[in-house]
Protein backbone atom coordinates (compact mmCIF):
# COMPACT_ATOMS: atom_id res chain seq x y z
CA UNK A 1 0.00 0.00 0.00
CA UNK A 2 1.15 3.43 -0.78
CA UNK A 3 2.28 5.36 2.20
CA UNK A 4 0.11 8.44 2.56
CA UNK A 5 1.94 10.26 5.26
CA UNK A 6 5.44 10.45 6.61
CA UNK A 7 5.56 9.93 10.34
CA UNK A 8 7.85 12.07 12.44
CA UNK A 9 10.26 9.24 13.15
CA UNK A 10 10.95 8.76 9.45
CA UNK A 11 12.82 12.03 9.36
CA UNK A 12 16.54 11.43 9.40
CA UNK A 13 17.14 14.07 12.02
CA UNK A 14 14.86 12.33 14.52
CA UNK A 15 16.40 8.96 13.82
CA UNK A 16 19.82 10.54 14.37
CA UNK A 17 18.62 12.19 17.53
CA UNK A 18 17.75 8.85 19.11
CA UNK A 19 20.99 7.39 17.86
CA UNK A 20 23.13 10.22 19.26
CA UNK A 21 21.33 10.22 22.61
CA UNK A 22 22.88 6.79 23.23
CA UNK A 23 26.20 8.62 23.56
CA UNK A 24 24.83 11.02 26.16
CA UNK A 25 25.68 8.72 29.05
CA UNK A 26 29.28 8.45 27.85
CA UNK A 27 29.56 12.24 27.68
CA UNK A 28 28.05 12.59 31.14
CA UNK A 29 30.34 9.87 32.49
CA UNK A 30 33.39 11.86 31.32
CA UNK A 31 32.06 14.95 33.10
CA UNK A 32 30.90 13.10 36.22
CA UNK A 33 34.45 11.94 36.93
CA UNK A 34 36.58 14.84 35.68
CA UNK A 35 34.52 17.74 37.09
CA UNK A 36 34.47 16.77 40.80
CA UNK A 37 38.13 15.71 40.78
CA UNK A 38 38.96 18.87 38.84
CA UNK A 39 37.11 21.01 41.36
CA UNK A 40 38.94 19.58 44.36
CA UNK A 41 42.35 19.66 42.66
CA UNK A 42 41.71 23.24 41.48
CA UNK A 43 41.16 24.32 45.06
CA UNK A 44 44.30 22.55 46.27
CA UNK A 45 46.37 23.95 43.40
CA UNK A 46 45.02 27.46 44.00
CA UNK A 47 46.04 27.22 47.66
CA UNK A 48 49.46 25.99 46.59
CA UNK A 49 49.73 28.85 44.12
CA UNK A 50 49.12 31.50 46.79
CA UNK A 51 51.09 29.70 49.49
CA UNK A 52 54.32 31.08 50.88
CA UNK A 53 56.30 28.05 49.69
CA UNK A 54 57.72 29.74 46.58
CA UNK A 55 59.05 26.47 45.16
CA UNK A 56 55.58 24.91 45.13
CA UNK A 57 53.96 28.10 43.87
CA UNK A 58 56.46 28.28 40.99
CA UNK A 59 55.86 24.68 39.94
CA UNK A 60 52.10 25.21 39.90
CA UNK A 61 52.51 28.48 38.00
CA UNK A 62 54.61 26.64 35.39
CA UNK A 63 52.02 23.90 35.09
CA UNK A 64 49.23 26.46 34.61
CA UNK A 65 51.32 28.33 32.03
CA UNK A 66 51.97 25.21 29.95
CA UNK A 67 48.42 23.87 30.06
CA UNK A 68 46.80 27.21 29.31
CA UNK A 69 49.21 27.90 26.48
CA UNK A 70 48.53 24.67 24.58
CA UNK A 71 45.32 23.39 22.98
CA UNK A 72 43.37 20.66 24.75
CA UNK A 73 43.70 18.50 21.64
CA UNK A 74 47.48 18.39 22.04
CA UNK A 75 47.05 17.37 25.66
CA UNK A 76 44.61 14.59 24.76
CA UNK A 77 46.89 13.29 22.02
CA UNK A 78 49.95 13.53 24.27
CA UNK A 79 48.25 11.42 26.92
CA UNK A 80 46.63 8.96 24.50
CA UNK A 81 49.36 8.49 21.90
CA UNK A 82 52.40 10.01 23.63
CA UNK A 83 52.36 8.32 27.03
CA UNK A 84 51.34 5.02 25.48
CA UNK A 85 54.49 5.00 23.39
CA UNK A 86 56.79 4.93 26.44
CA UNK A 87 57.66 1.36 27.26
CA UNK A 88 58.10 1.96 30.97
CA UNK A 89 54.51 3.17 31.18
CA UNK A 90 53.20 0.28 29.14
CA UNK A 91 54.79 -2.10 31.61
CA UNK A 92 53.59 -0.29 34.71
CA UNK A 93 50.19 -0.38 36.41
CA UNK A 94 49.31 2.94 34.69
CA UNK A 95 48.76 1.05 31.48
CA UNK A 96 45.46 -0.29 32.83
CA UNK A 97 44.18 3.28 32.73
CA UNK A 98 46.07 4.66 29.76
CA UNK A 99 45.14 1.93 27.31
CA UNK A 100 41.49 2.97 27.59
CA UNK A 101 40.51 6.05 25.56
CA UNK A 102 37.95 6.83 28.25
CA UNK A 103 40.50 7.21 31.04
CA UNK A 104 42.85 9.12 28.77
CA UNK A 105 39.99 11.51 28.14
CA UNK A 106 39.21 11.82 31.84
CA UNK A 107 42.86 12.49 32.69
CA UNK A 108 43.26 15.07 29.90
CA UNK A 109 40.04 16.88 30.83
CA UNK A 110 40.99 16.92 34.52
CA UNK A 111 44.51 18.19 33.83
CA UNK A 112 43.03 20.90 31.63
CA UNK A 113 40.27 22.07 33.93
CA UNK A 114 42.57 22.17 36.96
CA UNK A 115 44.82 24.68 35.21
CA UNK A 116 41.95 27.03 34.39
CA UNK A 117 40.03 26.35 37.60
CA UNK A 118 42.95 27.01 39.92
CA UNK A 119 43.57 30.38 38.25
CA UNK A 120 39.90 31.25 38.82
CA UNK A 121 40.07 30.18 42.47
CA UNK A 122 43.32 32.06 42.96
CA UNK A 123 41.55 35.21 41.82
CA UNK A 124 38.76 34.51 44.30
CA UNK A 125 41.14 33.87 47.19
CA UNK A 126 43.29 36.90 46.47
CA UNK A 127 40.28 39.19 46.20
CA UNK A 128 39.38 38.62 49.84
CA UNK A 129 39.89 41.75 51.90
CA UNK A 130 42.79 41.77 54.34
CA UNK A 131 40.47 42.94 57.10
CA UNK A 132 38.40 39.76 56.95
CA UNK A 133 41.46 37.59 57.48
CA UNK A 134 42.77 39.86 60.23
CA UNK A 135 39.47 39.70 62.08
CA UNK A 136 39.58 35.94 61.73
CA UNK A 137 43.03 35.95 63.29
CA UNK A 138 41.79 38.24 66.05
CA UNK A 139 39.10 35.69 66.83
CA UNK A 140 41.81 33.06 67.19
CA UNK A 141 40.93 31.02 64.09
CA UNK A 142 43.46 28.41 63.04
CA UNK A 143 44.47 27.90 59.41
CA UNK A 144 41.84 25.25 58.72
CA UNK A 145 39.07 27.17 60.48
CA UNK A 146 40.03 30.31 58.56
CA UNK A 147 39.79 28.32 55.34
CA UNK A 148 36.44 26.78 56.14
CA UNK A 149 34.70 29.74 57.71
CA UNK A 150 36.14 32.78 55.91
CA UNK A 151 38.21 32.17 52.78
CA UNK A 152 36.24 29.39 51.16
CA UNK A 153 32.71 30.83 51.58
CA UNK A 154 33.73 34.27 50.31
CA UNK A 155 35.87 32.96 47.45
CA UNK A 156 33.24 30.53 46.18
CA UNK A 157 30.68 33.32 45.84
CA UNK A 158 33.11 35.50 43.95
CA UNK A 159 34.22 32.83 41.49
CA UNK A 160 30.85 31.21 40.76
CA UNK A 161 30.16 33.09 37.49
CA UNK A 162 33.61 32.45 36.03
CA UNK A 163 33.80 28.89 37.31
CA UNK A 164 30.39 28.31 35.78
CA UNK A 165 31.81 29.49 32.49
CA UNK A 166 34.62 26.98 32.87
CA UNK A 167 32.08 24.19 33.53
CA UNK A 168 30.30 25.01 30.27
CA UNK A 169 33.63 25.00 28.42
CA UNK A 170 34.24 21.55 29.91
CA UNK A 171 30.92 20.23 28.59
CA UNK A 172 32.03 21.39 25.15
CA UNK A 173 35.54 20.02 25.64
CA UNK A 174 34.27 16.45 26.07
CA UNK A 175 33.61 16.38 22.33
CA UNK A 176 37.36 16.27 21.69
CA UNK A 177 37.63 12.91 23.43
CA UNK A 178 35.81 11.47 20.40
CA UNK A 179 39.08 11.88 18.48
CA UNK A 180 40.61 9.09 20.58
CA UNK A 181 37.95 6.65 19.25
CA UNK A 182 35.84 7.04 22.38
CA UNK A 183 32.20 6.90 21.31
CA UNK A 184 30.44 9.79 22.95
CA UNK A 185 27.93 12.07 21.24
CA UNK A 186 30.29 13.68 18.73
CA UNK A 187 31.84 10.31 17.89
CA UNK A 188 28.42 8.80 17.22
CA UNK A 189 27.38 11.82 15.12
CA UNK A 190 30.54 11.40 13.09
CA UNK A 191 29.77 7.69 12.58
CA UNK A 192 26.21 8.47 11.47
CA UNK A 193 27.61 11.01 9.03
CA UNK A 194 29.93 8.38 7.57
CA UNK A 195 27.02 5.95 7.23
CA UNK A 196 24.31 8.22 5.85
CA UNK A 197 26.34 10.91 4.04
CA UNK A 198 23.99 13.47 5.59
CA UNK A 199 26.31 15.64 7.71
CA UNK A 200 23.88 18.43 8.55
CA UNK A 201 21.24 16.15 10.08
CA UNK A 202 23.80 14.20 12.08
CA UNK A 203 25.63 17.16 13.58
CA UNK A 204 22.51 19.22 14.27
CA UNK A 205 21.06 16.30 16.23
CA UNK A 206 24.25 16.20 18.32
CA UNK A 207 24.33 19.98 18.61
CA UNK A 208 20.81 20.06 20.06
CA UNK A 209 21.83 17.57 22.73
CA UNK A 210 24.90 19.62 23.66
CA UNK A 211 22.75 22.74 23.86
CA UNK A 212 20.38 20.88 26.16
CA UNK A 213 23.27 19.70 28.34
CA UNK A 214 24.65 23.23 28.56
CA UNK A 215 21.18 24.57 29.33
CA UNK A 216 21.01 22.23 32.32
CA UNK A 217 24.49 23.33 33.36
CA UNK A 218 23.49 27.00 33.22
CA UNK A 219 20.41 26.30 35.33
CA UNK A 220 22.57 24.46 37.87
CA UNK A 221 25.00 27.39 38.09
CA UNK A 222 22.12 29.86 38.42
CA UNK A 223 20.71 27.75 41.25
CA UNK A 224 24.09 27.77 43.01
CA UNK A 225 24.39 31.52 42.62
CA UNK A 226 20.87 31.96 43.99
CA UNK A 227 21.63 29.65 46.89
CA UNK A 228 24.99 31.13 47.88
CA UNK A 229 23.92 34.75 47.47
CA UNK A 230 21.00 34.47 49.90
CA UNK A 231 22.15 37.66 51.64
CA UNK A 232 21.74 39.62 48.40
CA UNK A 233 18.28 38.33 47.58
CA UNK A 234 15.55 40.95 47.62
CA UNK A 235 12.63 39.78 49.72
CA UNK A 236 9.22 40.78 48.58
Amino acid sequence: MEQLYISLKDYLIFKNFFEVIKGLDNTILLLAISLPIGFILSLIFALGRVSKITFLAKIIAGYIFVIRGTPLLVQIYLIYFGLGSIKAIRDSFMWYLLKEPFWCGVIALTVNTVAYGSEIFRGGIQSIEKGQIESGKALGFGKFMMMRKIIFPIAIRKVLPSYGNELILMVKATSLVSLTTYMEMTGIARRIMAKTFAPVEAFIAAGMLYLFLNFLMVQFIRYLEWKYNAHLRVSN
Binding site: F65, V66, R68, G69, T70, P71, L72, L73, V74, Q75, Y77, L78, F81, G82, L83, G84, S85, I86, I168, K172, A173, T174, S175, L176, S178, L179, T186, A189, R190, M193, P199, V200, F203, I204, A206, G207, Y210, L211, N214, F215
Partner: protein, 234 residues
Protein backbone atom coordinates in the same frame (compact mmCIF):
# COMPACT_ATOMS: atom_id res chain seq x y z
CA UNK B 1 62.15 8.35 23.30
CA UNK B 2 62.59 11.96 22.29
CA UNK B 3 64.28 11.82 18.89
CA UNK B 4 66.01 15.16 18.39
CA UNK B 5 67.51 14.02 15.10
CA UNK B 6 64.04 13.82 13.55
CA UNK B 7 63.53 17.55 14.06
CA UNK B 8 66.34 18.76 11.80
CA UNK B 9 65.63 20.79 8.67
CA UNK B 10 65.87 19.20 5.24
CA UNK B 11 65.02 15.74 3.98
CA UNK B 12 66.16 13.88 7.06
CA UNK B 13 63.93 15.60 9.56
CA UNK B 14 60.62 17.36 9.95
CA UNK B 15 61.94 20.78 10.94
CA UNK B 16 60.99 22.66 7.78
CA UNK B 17 57.60 20.91 7.55
CA UNK B 18 56.84 21.93 11.12
CA UNK B 19 57.96 25.49 10.42
CA UNK B 20 55.55 25.75 7.48
CA UNK B 21 52.83 24.16 9.61
CA UNK B 22 53.43 26.81 12.26
CA UNK B 23 53.09 29.51 9.60
CA UNK B 24 49.84 27.88 8.45
CA UNK B 25 48.50 27.95 12.02
CA UNK B 26 49.42 31.63 12.25
CA UNK B 27 47.80 32.43 8.89
CA UNK B 28 44.55 30.62 9.76
CA UNK B 29 44.49 32.30 13.18
CA UNK B 30 45.05 35.79 11.80
CA UNK B 31 42.56 35.38 8.95
CA UNK B 32 39.85 33.93 11.16
CA UNK B 33 40.49 36.46 13.91
CA UNK B 34 40.06 39.25 11.35
CA UNK B 35 36.94 37.76 9.81
CA UNK B 36 35.69 37.00 13.32
CA UNK B 37 36.14 40.62 14.41
CA UNK B 38 34.24 41.76 11.31
CA UNK B 39 31.38 39.34 12.09
CA UNK B 40 31.52 40.43 15.73
CA UNK B 41 31.06 44.09 14.79
CA UNK B 42 27.97 43.15 12.74
CA UNK B 43 26.68 41.06 15.65
CA UNK B 44 27.19 43.87 18.16
CA UNK B 45 25.50 46.30 15.79
CA UNK B 46 22.57 43.88 15.44
CA UNK B 47 22.30 43.67 19.22
CA UNK B 48 22.42 47.37 20.05
CA UNK B 49 20.12 48.83 17.38
CA UNK B 50 16.49 48.99 18.40
CA UNK B 51 15.25 46.10 16.31
CA UNK B 52 13.79 42.95 17.78
CA UNK B 53 14.47 40.83 14.71
CA UNK B 54 18.18 41.54 14.38
CA UNK B 55 18.64 41.25 18.13
CA UNK B 56 16.92 37.87 18.11
CA UNK B 57 19.07 36.61 15.23
CA UNK B 58 22.28 37.84 16.86
CA UNK B 59 21.37 36.36 20.25
CA UNK B 60 20.39 33.07 18.65
CA UNK B 61 23.68 32.91 16.78
CA UNK B 62 25.88 33.63 19.81
CA UNK B 63 23.91 31.35 22.14
CA UNK B 64 23.93 28.39 19.77
CA UNK B 65 27.56 28.63 18.71
CA UNK B 66 28.74 29.12 22.28
CA UNK B 67 26.62 26.22 23.52
CA UNK B 68 27.83 23.71 20.96
CA UNK B 69 31.33 22.16 20.93
CA UNK B 70 33.76 23.81 18.53
CA UNK B 71 34.48 20.44 16.96
CA UNK B 72 30.81 20.05 15.96
CA UNK B 73 30.76 23.51 14.38
CA UNK B 74 33.86 22.64 12.39
CA UNK B 75 32.44 19.27 11.30
CA UNK B 76 29.18 20.94 10.30
CA UNK B 77 30.89 23.62 8.21
CA UNK B 78 33.47 21.23 6.77
CA UNK B 79 31.05 18.46 5.73
CA UNK B 80 27.96 20.62 5.28
CA UNK B 81 29.64 23.65 3.71
CA UNK B 82 30.22 22.01 0.36
CA UNK B 83 26.60 20.88 0.18
CA UNK B 84 25.40 24.41 0.89
CA UNK B 85 27.70 25.92 -1.76
CA UNK B 86 26.63 23.29 -4.29
CA UNK B 87 22.94 23.89 -3.67
CA UNK B 88 23.50 27.63 -4.16
CA UNK B 89 25.39 26.88 -7.38
CA UNK B 90 22.47 24.70 -8.53
CA UNK B 91 20.18 27.72 -8.36
CA UNK B 92 22.49 29.43 -10.81
CA UNK B 93 22.43 26.42 -13.10
CA UNK B 94 25.75 24.75 -12.21
CA UNK B 95 25.37 21.06 -11.41
CA UNK B 96 29.00 20.03 -11.01
CA UNK B 97 30.88 19.14 -7.86
CA UNK B 98 32.38 22.02 -5.95
CA UNK B 99 34.83 21.63 -3.15
CA UNK B 100 35.92 24.60 -1.09
CA UNK B 101 39.57 24.42 -0.19
CA UNK B 102 40.56 23.51 3.34
CA UNK B 103 41.96 26.93 4.20
CA UNK B 104 38.69 28.70 3.30
CA UNK B 105 36.61 26.25 5.32
CA UNK B 106 39.00 26.45 8.26
CA UNK B 107 38.96 30.24 8.26
CA UNK B 108 35.17 30.44 8.06
CA UNK B 109 34.62 27.81 10.75
CA UNK B 110 37.06 29.32 13.25
CA UNK B 111 35.82 32.84 12.45
CA UNK B 112 32.24 31.85 13.30
CA UNK B 113 33.41 30.56 16.68
CA UNK B 114 35.80 33.44 17.34
CA UNK B 115 33.15 36.04 16.46
CA UNK B 116 30.83 34.94 19.28
CA UNK B 117 33.55 35.59 21.86
CA UNK B 118 34.71 38.84 20.22
CA UNK B 119 31.15 40.18 20.06
CA UNK B 120 30.73 39.80 23.83
CA UNK B 121 34.00 41.64 24.41
CA UNK B 122 33.15 44.44 21.99
CA UNK B 123 29.62 44.81 23.35
CA UNK B 124 30.89 45.11 26.91
CA UNK B 125 33.42 47.72 25.73
CA UNK B 126 30.72 49.67 23.92
CA UNK B 127 28.40 49.62 26.92
CA UNK B 128 31.15 50.85 29.24
CA UNK B 129 31.41 54.16 27.38
CA UNK B 130 29.62 56.97 29.11
CA UNK B 131 26.51 58.02 27.15
CA UNK B 132 27.24 61.64 28.01
CA UNK B 133 30.21 61.63 25.67
CA UNK B 134 28.04 60.79 22.66
CA UNK B 135 25.56 63.47 23.70
CA UNK B 136 28.36 66.00 24.08
CA UNK B 137 29.64 65.11 20.60
CA UNK B 138 26.15 65.55 19.18
CA UNK B 139 25.88 68.91 20.89
CA UNK B 140 29.14 69.91 19.20
CA UNK B 141 27.56 69.04 15.86
CA UNK B 142 29.61 65.96 14.96
CA UNK B 143 27.91 63.61 12.53
CA UNK B 144 27.44 59.92 13.30
CA UNK B 145 30.51 58.82 11.36
CA UNK B 146 32.77 61.29 13.18
CA UNK B 147 31.28 60.29 16.52
CA UNK B 148 32.17 56.68 15.82
CA UNK B 149 35.68 57.39 14.51
CA UNK B 150 36.70 60.09 16.99
CA UNK B 151 34.78 59.29 20.16
CA UNK B 152 33.64 55.67 20.22
CA UNK B 153 36.28 53.68 18.33
CA UNK B 154 39.36 54.82 20.28
CA UNK B 155 37.69 54.06 23.59
CA UNK B 156 36.19 50.75 22.43
CA UNK B 157 39.65 49.62 21.31
CA UNK B 158 41.17 50.58 24.65
CA UNK B 159 38.49 48.86 26.72
CA UNK B 160 38.31 45.79 24.49
CA UNK B 161 42.03 45.09 23.99
CA UNK B 162 42.57 42.82 27.02
CA UNK B 163 39.47 40.81 26.11
CA UNK B 164 40.46 40.67 22.44
CA UNK B 165 43.84 39.34 23.55
CA UNK B 166 42.06 36.51 25.35
CA UNK B 167 39.91 35.78 22.28
CA UNK B 168 43.07 35.66 20.19
CA UNK B 169 44.53 33.01 22.49
CA UNK B 170 41.31 30.98 22.27
CA UNK B 171 41.25 31.35 18.47
CA UNK B 172 44.88 30.29 18.19
CA UNK B 173 44.22 27.18 20.24
CA UNK B 174 40.99 26.41 18.38
CA UNK B 175 42.90 26.18 15.11
CA UNK B 176 44.28 22.86 16.37
CA UNK B 177 40.78 21.41 15.80
CA UNK B 178 41.08 22.26 12.13
CA UNK B 179 43.46 19.32 11.80
CA UNK B 180 40.40 17.05 11.48
CA UNK B 181 39.63 18.67 8.13
CA UNK B 182 43.02 17.81 6.68
CA UNK B 183 44.55 21.27 6.61
CA UNK B 184 48.23 20.82 7.40
CA UNK B 185 48.83 22.98 10.44
CA UNK B 186 50.89 22.19 13.55
CA UNK B 187 48.59 19.50 14.91
CA UNK B 188 48.08 17.73 11.59
CA UNK B 189 51.77 17.90 10.68
CA UNK B 190 52.85 16.47 14.01
CA UNK B 191 50.33 13.60 13.69
CA UNK B 192 51.60 12.82 10.19
CA UNK B 193 55.22 12.95 11.34
CA UNK B 194 54.57 10.80 14.40
CA UNK B 195 52.78 8.21 12.28
CA UNK B 196 55.67 8.06 9.83
CA UNK B 197 58.42 7.98 12.46
CA UNK B 198 56.51 5.93 15.04
CA UNK B 199 57.43 8.47 17.65
CA UNK B 200 54.32 10.32 18.86
CA UNK B 201 56.04 11.71 21.94
CA UNK B 202 58.68 13.63 19.96
CA UNK B 203 56.28 15.38 17.64
CA UNK B 204 53.43 15.96 20.08
CA UNK B 205 55.79 17.60 22.57
CA UNK B 206 57.19 19.68 19.71
CA UNK B 207 53.64 20.68 18.74
CA UNK B 208 52.89 21.65 22.35
CA UNK B 209 56.08 23.75 22.47
CA UNK B 210 55.21 25.45 19.19
CA UNK B 211 51.75 26.38 20.50
CA UNK B 212 53.30 27.58 23.74
CA UNK B 213 55.71 29.73 21.76
CA UNK B 214 52.89 31.24 19.68
CA UNK B 215 50.59 31.96 22.62
CA UNK B 216 53.37 33.43 24.76
CA UNK B 217 54.75 35.75 22.14
CA UNK B 218 51.39 36.91 20.85
CA UNK B 219 50.45 37.53 24.49
CA UNK B 220 53.50 39.80 24.79
CA UNK B 221 52.46 41.58 21.58
CA UNK B 222 49.01 42.29 23.01
CA UNK B 223 50.56 43.60 26.24
CA UNK B 224 52.55 46.10 24.18
CA UNK B 225 49.42 47.12 22.26
CA UNK B 226 47.57 47.62 25.53
CA UNK B 227 50.27 49.92 26.84
CA UNK B 228 50.26 51.84 23.56
CA UNK B 229 46.51 52.35 23.54
CA UNK B 230 46.21 53.30 27.19
CA UNK B 231 48.77 56.12 26.91
CA UNK B 232 47.50 59.25 28.54
CA UNK B 233 45.18 57.38 30.89
CA UNK B 234 47.55 56.29 33.64
Amino acid sequence: MFKFDKLVFGDLGWGDELLFATLMTLIVSILSMGLGLFLAIITVWAKIIQSRITRFIANFYTTVIRGVPELLVIYLIFFGGNAVVMSIAKIFGYNGYIELNALTIATIAIAFISATYSSEVLRAAYLSINKGQVEAAKALGLNRFSIFIRILAPQIIRYALPGIGNVWQITLKDTSLISVTGLVEIMRQSRIASNVEHSPLTFLITAALLYLFLTTFSGKFFKILEIKFSQGYN
